[in-house]
């Protein structure tokens, strides 16, 4: 019997990966996008180190031995890392690399070696893809802003504001913006948006919004920030201009810039329910390992995965942040 067929049979009998581990452990490589300190992923606040750590933690209870490679944001290095993974005779490669040409070459070499792959965020030819659903995440933001306006500012004129790296040429940002506008217009069809482009420097959200607020005295503002650091700076501008009563922010990401442990007193916190930051849509990039490694095991068990599996995004607020991310800074 082929190994994969045998494993698929085990799974079909209701025996999960833990039971299969008694038969075999798998060597799985993660080639990470970029672990350079200070570099963040996908226009959000997550780091490559956080993503890698999620694999390290998730692997603890699974029948896998992990190998880690850092593509360092370089296509040539990604190809070299894939070659190293092939030489190490891994059972599966999880590839996170944004260079399409390099991914085509990696896919070709993996096919020759007979090694299956999973792609993270960016497509790898022939490999199932796991990543965010940027448009859906944006839509959650839009829904939250629209619902807030209907609940709290009924029959009042409101204006939408988009803050972030709006000129980013990648599809992720434009998909998020599209989702935000679609979502909010389900409840506020005529809502207009102003765009404040931070040019990739979230700190600029403070000055940009402060200046904008001066031109919009008394205007109710529904603010969508494209990352959490921008939300923190935007909140600062709102507070400094004493506009808390007519501004609300919903952000994208839910990274550690905006939420933390029980003692950290970050913006989204159960004890900070009066914040103008209503919440942030979670992308869970610091938990990818928990979603992706089970997919990898299913693939290794011979299962055909859907071409694309997406993160189950959700709006995280002060009311549920400690349920989504249980803090462990108490004992």
């Amino acid at each position: 019997m082929q190994r994969r067929s045998f494993l698929a049979g085990l799974l079909a009998c209701g025996l999960g990966p833990a039971k299969a581990a008694e038969a075999r452990r798998f060597r799985i490589a993660l080639a990470n996008l970029d672990e350079t300190p200070g570099v963040t992923l996908e226009g959000l606040g997550f780091t490559g180190a956080e993503l890698r750590r999620s694999f390290e933690l998730a692997a603890r209870t699974l029948p896998v031995d992990m190998l880690y490679f850092d593509n360092a944001g370089d296509g040539a290095r990604a190809v070299a890392n894939a070659e190293a993974a092939i030489a190490a005779k891994v059972d599966l490669l999880i590839e996170y690399n944004a260079d399409a040409d390099a991914n085509a070459e990696i896919a070709r070499r993996l096919a020759v070696a007979g090694i299956p792959a999973l792609a993270l965020v960016d497509p790898l030819p022939g490999a199932p893809l796991y990543g965010p659903d940027n448009r859906a995440a944006g839509r959650i933001t839009g829904h939250a802003l629209g619902a807030f306006a209907l609940e709290n500012w009924p029959n009042e004129q409101v204006l939408g504001v988009l803050i972030g790296d709006l000129a980013d040429p990648g599809p992720a940002i434009s998909d998020r913006v599209q989702g935000i506008t679609e979502g909010v217009r389900e409840s506020l069809p005529a809502l207009k948006f102003a765009a404040l482009d931070t040019g990739g420097q979230s700190v600029r959200a403070d000055a940009l919004l402060a200046k904008f607020l001066q031109t919009q005295r008394g205007q109710r503002l529904l603010i969508a920030t494209l990352n959490d650091l921008a939300a923190v700076y935007a909140r600062n501008a709102i507070e400094m201009n004493r506009r808390q009563s007519d501004c609300v922010i919903v952000s994208q990401g839910l990274d550690r810039n905006i939420h933390g442990g029980a003692s950290e007193k970050k913006e989204i916190d159960p004890n900070n329910r009066g914040s103008v930051v209503l919440g942030s849509v979670a992308y869970y990039m610091d938990r990818y390992g928990y979603d992706v490694l089970p997919l990898a095991l299913r693939l290794l068990a011979g299962e055909t995965l859907p071409p694309r599996t997406v993160t189950q995004h959700s709006l995280v607020t002060a009311a549920n942040v400690f349920r989504e991310y249980p803090p462990f800074d108490m004992n």
Partner: protein, 340 residues
């Protein structure tokens, strides 16, 4: 904005604005959330019920050489504390000032005021420390028993005694022997890294190293080596608090099945952090304290007794630890000694 709208914006309910009870603060079904105590429906003591005179007498037989080994760290400014936790003392010493002495014999005195949270340094968690919603040990609906200053049930005054046998399990040796030790580079001596799972198999291997079989009433201590970072305070406080090696929930359940009375470690939570399940908070605390009444002892200095065990080939000792009868408290710093 209406009151309801404003309240919704603020994330609070109108009921709470009006001072009425809310669904969130309603009593949970504690019988569904917490296991009953094996010591009866009125029990507030927990596992120290198991320390009977027979248990203490048997433990006394562990004293063979009289050698005493400290198992507590100094409680001093600079040790790792979480977030807003603090531990300060104020020294009252005015009677030392010339002329302020008492009597012709010029008696002087000094004393301290503690301004400290209780869960600092080497400390014990009591039954009032951890629950699920408002349900605590022995299905106690603690919402009824919380006052501004103390608990009206499950306080430390209900503890019986820790005059029992202590057992040290050296997880560092277990992992070294198994060739699976992944150390943290900040440790100056061998340690398990943060997030390392210590399973019941590892615990059993550690016991087997010294030919120890757990018995009812034992207090179990685990040496992970992580305490090395505590000893480097304050330089490694952030690293120490960032996570820790520790037992899994399954291992905790196994220890509970052995009817131990306490589980301690040279870590700040005894259990593995980050936990096995990203969505579950402190499962071992719930298993040991809430479901089984087993005390957790944190920041225990386990390195010295581990060395002593290795040199004497004896991993058991008489446990010397007392807990103040501090009424209605959830925990306290303690001193611990192992007497062999």
């Amino acid at each position: 904005m209406t009151i309801a709208g404003f309240a919704a914006f603020m994330g609070i309910s109108v009921l709470s604005l009006l001072g009425l009870s809310t669904p969130a603060s309603a009593e949970a079904d504690c019988k569904a959330l917490v296991a009953p105590s094996p010591f009866g429906p009125d029990d507030q003591t927990g596992a120290t019920n198991r320390v009977t005179p027979v248990v203490t007498k048997a433990a006394a037989a562990e004293i063979q050489t009289g050698v005493v080994t400290s198992m507590a760290y100094d409680l001093v400014d600079g040790i790792p504390l979480f977030g807003t936790r603090f531990s300060k003392t104020i020294l009252t010493s005015f009677a030392v000032v010339p002329g302020a002495e008492y009597g012709n014999n010029k008696l002087s005195y000094m004393e301290d005021t503690y301004l400290s949270q209780s869960h600092v340094g080497t400390h014990i968690d009591g039954m009032g420390h951890i629950g699920v919603q408002d349900c605590y040990y022995n299905q106690t609906p603690m919402g009824k028993y919380v006052t501004q200053n103390y608990l009206k049930r499950l306080g430390l005054e209900n503890i019986k005694t820790f005059a029992t046998r202590g057992v040290i399990i050296d997880a560092v040796k277990v992992f070294q022997a198994a060739g699976k030790l992944k150390a943290n580079p900040a440790c100056k001596s061998p340690c398990l890294d943060a997030g390392t799972l210590i399973t019941e198999v590892d615990l059993q291997a550690g016991l087997k190293m010294y030919n120890v079989t757990l018995r009812e009433g034992d207090a179990v201590f685990i040496n992970t080596g992580w305490g090395d970072l505590f000893k480097q305070y304050p330089a490694q406080n952030t690293a120490y608090n960032s996570g820790e090696p520790g037992i899994t929930d399954t291992a905790a359940k196994w220890l509970a099945s052995q009817k131990v009375i306490a589980v301690g470690a040279d870590t700040w939570a005894v259990e593995v952090i980050p936990g096995e399940n990203k969505d579950i908070a402190f499962p071992v605390h719930k298993t040991l304290l809430t479901d089984n009444g087993i005390h957790i002892i944190e920041n225990v200095r386990t390195d010295l007794i581990s060395v002593a065990a290795a040199s004497s080939n004896r991993a058991t000792f008489f446990l010397s630890m007392t807990v103040p009868k501090a009424v209605g408290t959830t925990g306290t710093f303690v001193n611990i000694e192992a007497i062999q």
